[in-house]
Amino acid sequence: MKPIIKLSLAFALIAAAVGARADEVQVAVAANFTAPMKEIAEAFAKATNHKVVAAFGSTGKFYSQIQNGAPFEVLLAADAETPAKLEKEGSAVAGSRFTYAIGKLVLWSAKPDFVDQKGKVLKQGKFEHLSIANPKLAPYGAAGVEAMKKLEVFGALEPKLVQADNIAQAFQFVQSGNAELGFIALSQVYKEGKVADGSAWIVPAKLYSPILQDAVILAKGKDKPAAIALLDFLKGEKARAIITSYGYGL
């Protein structure tokens, strides 16, 4: 084979590889939405042939990463403020924002019978560590603090708080038993219509401001068919069924 042919063949291969990658959509996903997102990504791939490449983490972290040029095309945030802020700053596509899920806060322990149905365990305070996602960064952490303040136990419990980097780590601290209980997202422990194990108190909605989780197309995903298709898919029947099966409101 002549070198020039070899070279053009190589270029053709690279072009083909790049072309195939165009069907990928880079999504930053709030950690609480990890499990449903995996299921949705599978259904989305089946329905559209687009592939979701997801990163899971805290919304606050994604915000600073996006500001600093992270390659994400879609953000599924754990709040409504971050997508709105990004839109205002021009880092997100105007008009693409919508609420894909309404999060529910739960007080959870890996031990059965540790958390009662009324959350009295918080007032009794018979535990060493209460795990919570960093309230500065994670909406579920902020909601937990808000609920404790409304219940007037925050002052007493503050020394017992262990702050996780995001809601996934908050869950991991409790699940490994290192913290007896913690405020986490219902979606992390909810399977097939109930809390799968341990003991839980679903915190009444009146104790914290609603956790509206908004999705938005980011500047890097503008006019990308896969990004638009993903947001459309999230609004559809199939995705909504998956989302509610994890205990989210809609």
Binding site: S58, G60, K61, Y63, S64, E128, H129, S131, N134, K136, L137, L161, V162, Q163, A164, D165, F173, S176, G177, N178, A179
Partner: protein, 226 residues
């Protein structure tokens, strides 16, 4: 200066953690380094490899295993609970244990090198002068190994100050108990408080430079570490 009370708390905590870990490591590390330097046992090799493991392993591996072993279902966690000490994750003693493991090779290896460099001769001379082995160790070996100890202390201290991953996985981000400087910087950056992050990060850069400068001024006679 642009530092908050929380920042100062983090600095104090970091210094306490690094000092305590370094002292513990020098105490624990000396017999291990001595054995590694003098023993002809086959076991010397696997033990040396274990000592060097934290050099190679990502801190997340160390943090993960510590979290699991020190947790309520882990062997160490069950031991500390049986002794009435409670659980170690999210506590200062827990971080000390993590740091001791994390910084172990940085202390043991320079001391071991110093011991090896002494050789047999001074020990034999001391023995002919009827010095007991313990006597020899304190009056002959320790003074001769002084540069090694200095290197070990500086490196152990500095490396503990630079610890991040282990504390992130094990600490729980508690002010004045487990929130060290590296975590505090991370918090500031995450919360977009760049000014405060700059202050602390700048201090660490200057600190690290001074430490290394000291080290290279001390160690210009030989290599610093293997």
């Amino acid at each position: 200066m642009g530092l908050t009370a929380e920042d100062w708390g983090a600095i104090r905590l970091t210094l306490e953690l690094a000092s305590l870990s370094t002292i513990l490591l020098l105490l624990i590390g000396t017999p291990i380094a001595w054995w590694l330097a003098r023993s002809r046992s086959w076991w010397r090799r696997p033990v040396a490899a274990v000592v060097a493991l934290p050099l190679v392993l990502p801190p997340t591996v160390i943090g993960f295993y510590l979290l699991v072993t020190m947790g309520p279902n882990g062997p160490l966690g069950q031991l500390t609970q049986a002794l009435g000490l409670g659980l170690l994750p999210f506590t200062f003693p827990g971080l000390v244990i993590g740091s001791v493991i994390y910084s172990m090779p940085f202390v043991i290896q320079p001391v071991q090198n110093a011991f090896q460099a002494i050789g047999d001769r001074p020990l034999e001379v001391a023995a002919t002068l009827r010095a007991s082995p313990l006597d020899t160790f304190f009056t002959v070996v320790l003074p001769l190994a002084r540069p090694g100890y200095l290197t070990a202390a500086v490196l152990g201290f500095a490396h503990t100050v630079g610890e991040f991953g282990v504390v992130l996985m094990l600490g729980g981000n508690i002010a004045n108990r487990t929130r060290v400087v590296s975590i505090q910087i991370y918090n500031h950056v995450e919360a977009l408080e760049y000014t405060q992050a700059h202050w602390l990060a700048g201090i660490l850069v200057v600190f690290a430079f001074l430490v290394l400068l000291t080290l290279y001024s001390l160690g210009n006679r030989g290599q610093v570490w293997r």
